[in-house]
């Protein structure tokens, strides 16, 4: 099985054009008295105050329409199943995670490399836990990220455990992970389409969450899936680029 995956990886790992640079994902124009939000693909949010519309215009020019040019993306529904692992193995996986993060590393890069490294070592399929914050929440808390992502593993008892090595010193349940980053600790919306969230989430909510296959790198991959193009394997370029951005050279 792993041999097959390796072959598939080698076949499909050339010439792909996944979105990897920290481009502008979207812009949310603030109402009177509220800042404008510039959301980047990395998850970073930049606040542009009212009266600084020139800055905002510069960011608007950077918005790119998503171009699906990745040959690996297949027009098939995903049937991804994470590999169940024991509680003891969850701890082992955590202890194997690359601890040498570089400055200003982004969660999407870290999560992608950690998930790939474990898959390469043990063949374990993990998921990505995505947390999306609403614009209302971001403005209220001057929060500097609009989403966060980390690797998530499923235990043999069905428990979802998130391994967010940069921020937490142990594996935690999905709920504990979510509560760490959502100050209000309110429940998040779980049944939704990312495209709907992206075009106008329910601003009475604080957060939305999704569990996605380990291959998904950034929210645009979720959007692509919802448009009918599902990512079903790794992209060498994407993993390598993430590693170079998020970890010290030679630390894998």
């Amino acid at each position: 099985m792993r041999t097959f995956m390796l072959i598939a990886f080698l076949i499909f790992s050339h010439g792909v054009g996944a979105e990897t640079e920290d481009g502008v994902h979207s812009i949310v124009k603030g109402k009177a008295g509220e800042p404008h939000l510039v959301k980047f693909n990395s998850g970073v949010v930049k606040f542009i105050e009212q009266g600084e519309e020139e800055k905002l215009a510069a960011f608007e020019k950077q918005i790119k329409k998503p171009i699906i040019q990745n040959k690996m993306l297949l027009l098939e529904p995903s049937e991804f199943e994470p590999t169940p692992v024991s509680d003891a193995e969850i701890k082992n996986i955590f202890s194997r995670m690359n601890p040498y993060m570089s400055r200003r590393s982004e969660c999407s890069d870290r999560a992608h490399v950690w998930a790939w490294d474990e898959f390469r070592k043990s063949g374990t399929k993990s998921e990505k836990a995505f947390l999306f914050l609403t614009n209302a929440y971001i403005v209220r808390n001057r929060y500097k990220w609009w989403y966060h992502v980390a690797p998530m593993y499923t235990t043999t008892s069905g428990q979802k455990m998130v391994l967010d090595y940069q921020f937490l010193d142990r594996p935690v349940t999905f709920t504990e992970w979510k509560n760490t980053f959502v100050f209000s600790k309110r429940e998040c919306v779980t049944e939704f389409k990312f495209l709907d969230y992206d075009t106008g989430a329910d601003q009475s909510q604080d957060c939305y969450t999704k569990a996605e296959p380990m291959y998904y790198f950034i929210p645009l991959d979720i959007a692509s899936h919802e448009r009918g193009q599902t990512k079903t394997t790794w992209t060498e370029f994407e993993v390598n680029a993430s590693r170079s951005r998020a970890f010290f050279k030679g630390s894998n």
Partner: protein, 231 residues
């Protein structure tokens, strides 16, 4: 690897008056009294000690800080490097502690949702070395700390000078900075690095204890890590 384990001199503890707080704040009580929980100190051997610095108070503002600490000992030369990604343009008091773990929300004894200076000190223990402008002594370079945002700190020192300073008499037994028994050298394995400081604009409760008369936002612990030898 050298394995002789060193014991911190507890005799000094008898000099400490329980509950004494001479700083005007609430930072000092319990610091040296609880040393017995942190006694085991393995003398440093050449190599690199590394720790991931993780957030202590996630909710102090909208930017969740993180970083790393590296202590490299080569012969007599110690190089200390700490970095922290934050967006807080404030000085970041940073210290190496005798404790062996970082505080978590379970250490929030007053239940205000934050780990304040005093609650953190109870966990990380007394200060071995302030990571300030001069690592060679606890006093020299005092209170000159790196400043954010995007803090980077690099200092070198002599291990012999650090130990010689640690063997001096404790000039202020009431503070949270300790001395070591003569000829018992400093160690880094499993020791804690703690960094403080967030902006005044942060929404913090009035219940926070601070260091001396410092503003609560400056005293607030922001990241913490435990050093492990990696080579």
């Amino acid at each position: 690897m050298k394995t002789n384990k060193l014991i911190v001199l507890l005799a000094l503890l008898s000099l400490v008056s329980c509950g004494k707080d001479s700083g005007g704040g609430s930072s000092k009580s319990g610091a040296k009294e609880t040393q017995s929980a942190f006694m085991e100190l393995v003398e440093a051997t050449p190599g690199t000690y590394y720790g991931v610095l993780r957030p202590v108070n996630f909710h102090s503002n909208g930017f969740i800080p993180y970083g790393m600490a590296t202590f490299t000992l080569k012969e007599d030369q110690l190089q200390v490097s700490t970095t922290m990604d934050d967006d807080q343009a404030v000085p970041h008091r940073q210290t190496l502690h005798l404790g062996t773990r970082c505080p978590s929300l379970s250490d929030d004894t007053n239940g205000d949702g934050f780990i304040d200076y005093q609650e953190a000190q109870a966990v990380v223990g007394p200060v071995l070395v302030p990571l300030d402008n001069d690592l060679n002594s606890q006093k020299a370079g005092e209170d000159v700390f790196p400043r954010g945002p995007g803090m980077t700190y690099n200092k070198t020192a002599s291990l012999q000078k650090i130990n010689t300073d640690l063997w001096q008499a404790d000039e202020d037994p009431s503070d949270n900075v300790i001395k070591l028994e003569n000829n018992k050298g400093i160690g880094f394995e499993n020791r804690v690095v703690l960094i403080h400081g967030t902006t005044s604009g942060s929404q913090l409760p009035s219940s926070l204890a601070s260091y001396k008369d410092e503003e609560a936002n400056i005293s607030l612990p922001v990241v913490c890590g435990v050093l492990k030898k990696i080579d």
